[in-house]
Amino acid sequence: MPDLRELYQEVILEHSKAPRNYRELPTANHRAEGYNPLCGDHFTVYLNLAGDSIRDITFQGSGCAISKASASMMTQMVKGKTRAEAATLFEQFHKLVTGKSPANGNGNRAELGKLSVFSGVSEFPVRVKCATLAWHTLQASLEGKQDTVSTE
């Protein structure tokens, strides 16, 4: 049986209780909504894009500890990055939470930085959607999609 502490790491619990960048963004020029109809998790991601780079990013909504912490840490990680850099980070993050990181994953983890605390999610396949909801929403926002993103 996978270890719960691997999933609910202190950092994750802390971010879920006190999410960072948790507010509306008055200067937002992009926004997208993400929704998981299965569990009712619902987030809005606000973006201020300056040319190709993410000048500011915030979010609001409701969800479980995993989805909220993931959204919170995502906003910290992608702020200041270009679209391409954010997309690459999501790709690596997705591999991490689905257990598809290379076995020796150190290089990968180094780039992911503190997002590597989510590695425990890979032992809980039904929670992958929680961890990636905010990221899918960010992706939709970057691509300028108007529809609500669904992880179902």
């Binding site: 609910y8 009712g40 995993i66």
Partner: protein
């Protein structure tokens, strides 16, 4: 109450509990369900997701196996031995359902896939014939999506209006509001017997009496009722009563629509095909008599037989005994779970069956579910396909433990310990 009176009440309650335990040997019952011996992640399975689907006794599993091993053939067609056997078994199951629901005649029992198909059937046949622009369909605020969406589709098509009876903060139907909403435009009332999200038992007999005074027919969604309560469709005078086999220890993919003969007889068919006809020419088809008019195509023969076996199993234990055991269990669970600091129960109606929905501090139910799963405890978390109920209480989701005849107080204790564990993780 004085201390002495409290003690007396408690002692009398404990005596009741002991008497019910003596009549209902839950450990013996558990041995009838092979899956309950299964271990999950090295722990004994504690299955508390019975409102989603129930586990199956060996008798049901065997009945399905036996049918495929010995009697499998298509029904109502062949002249050969096996076809006759299969038809007998299938129609025998219909008879068992008739007696289970106390219906007047077996031809009033239509086999369908489940409650969802049953309600869609009624909406698309009775509804499309009788509901017109400006008319109203009346449902309640605690319906499962399957008793909302089919009516919405109908109302959209017809330009009719879906009206909703509100519920109180404890999760009880507001009967006065119901009375006010019944009117000359109301063409049908569709209401749950027991709420899947809250556990509320709805006083359907009173509701039906009120609707019948205005000559309005009533469909009762019995999905969460038939495993827990004795249902008598004639005594409550229900016009339509629907339930799913898999929630009452039968297989998935089989369910029942009960309808009064007069109503079913006047309704157009739902699906066209084989078995639902008397004669077919390219100019005209004459439909078969009830119940076959509503059973186009080869039905789920094995499913019906499995459901028949499930009903026999339930009858063997006695629904009164089952109800008493489950009532005890729910009372015990309500007491012990609500005593945990930070727990808030959602759905505190006076009359409840089978369901304990709760929140724990501001911990998301999904997280509760994952942590309990690590303890081998299966509960449901989410909106329970009843999003309007969640909106009514201003919440996104609940954690829901739901009980069946094979659950024990020890399993409730495991749930309580599991919830304590959740509190530790999120401390």
């Amino acid at each position: 109450m004085t201390t002495a009176a409290k003690r007396l009440a408690r002692e009398s309650h404990l005596a009741d509990v002991r008497e019910i335990d003596a009549r209902f040997d839950v450990q013996k019952v558990r041995r009838d369900f092979p899956i309950l011996r299964r271990r999950v992640g090295g722990r004994n399975l504690v299955y508390l997701d019975n409102a989603a689907t129930s586990q199956k006794p060996q008798a049901v599993i065997d009945a399905i196996g036996r049918y495929y091993e010995l009697d499998n053939a298509n029904i109502h067609r062949g002249v050969h031995f096996l076809s006759e056997r299969a038809t007998e078994e299938y129609e025998g199951a219909r008879k068992k359902v008739q007696l289970f629901l106390h219906a007047a005649d077996a031809s009033e029992i239509i086999f369908v896939r489940g409650v969802t198909e049953a309600i869609n059937l009624v909406a698309q046949t009775y509804g499309r014939t009788n509901v017109r622009a400006g008319d109203e369909v009346l449902i309640s605020a605690m319906e499962h999506h399957s008793n909302i969406v089919p009516w919405q589709i109908l109302c959209e098509e017809k330009g009719a209006r879906l009206r909703v009876v509100p519920i109180s903060d404890s999760g009880e139907l507001m009967l006065e509001e119901f009375g006010r909403l019944l009117g000359p435009r109301t063409k049908i009332v569709a209401i749950t017997h027991v709420s899947n999200a809250l556990g509320t038992i709805v006083p359907v007999q009173r509701i039906i009496a009120m609707a019948h005074r205005e000559n309005i027919p009533v469909l009762v969604d019995g999905a969460q009722a038939v495993p827990h309560l004795k249902v008598d469709v004639q005594a409550v005078d229900s016009d339509f009563y629907v339930f799913s086999g898999h929630k009452v220890y039968g297989p998935t993919g089989i369910g029942v629509l009960y309808g009064k003969s007069a109503l079913l007889g006047a309704m157009p068919p739902y699906q066209g095909g084989g078995d639902m006809i008397s004669s077919v020419t390219f100019e005209k088809t004459t439909y078969n008599k009830l119940p076959h008019k509503f059973e186009a195509g080869t039905p789920h023969v094995a499913g019906a037989i499995g459901l028949g076996a499930a009903i026999e199993y339930v009858n063997g234990l006695g629904l009164d005994n089952i109800a008493a055991h489950e009532h005890n269990l729910l009372t015990y669970a309500t007491g012990t779970v609500s005593a945990i600091p930070g727990v808030r129960l959602i759905g505190t109606a006076r009359e409840k069956a089978g369901v304990l929905s709760f929140l724990l501090d501001d911990i998301h139910p999904h997280d509760i579910g994952t942590i309990l799963d690590q303890e081998g405890i299966a509960i449901r978390t989410g909106h329970h396909c009843a999003q309007p109920v969640m909106q009514r209480f201003g919440i996104a989701a609940t954690a829901r433990a739901s009980f069946a005849l094979y659950n024990t107080r020890e399993e409730v204790d495991a749930l309580v310990e599991g919830i304590q564990k959740v509190r530790e993780v999120f401390a």
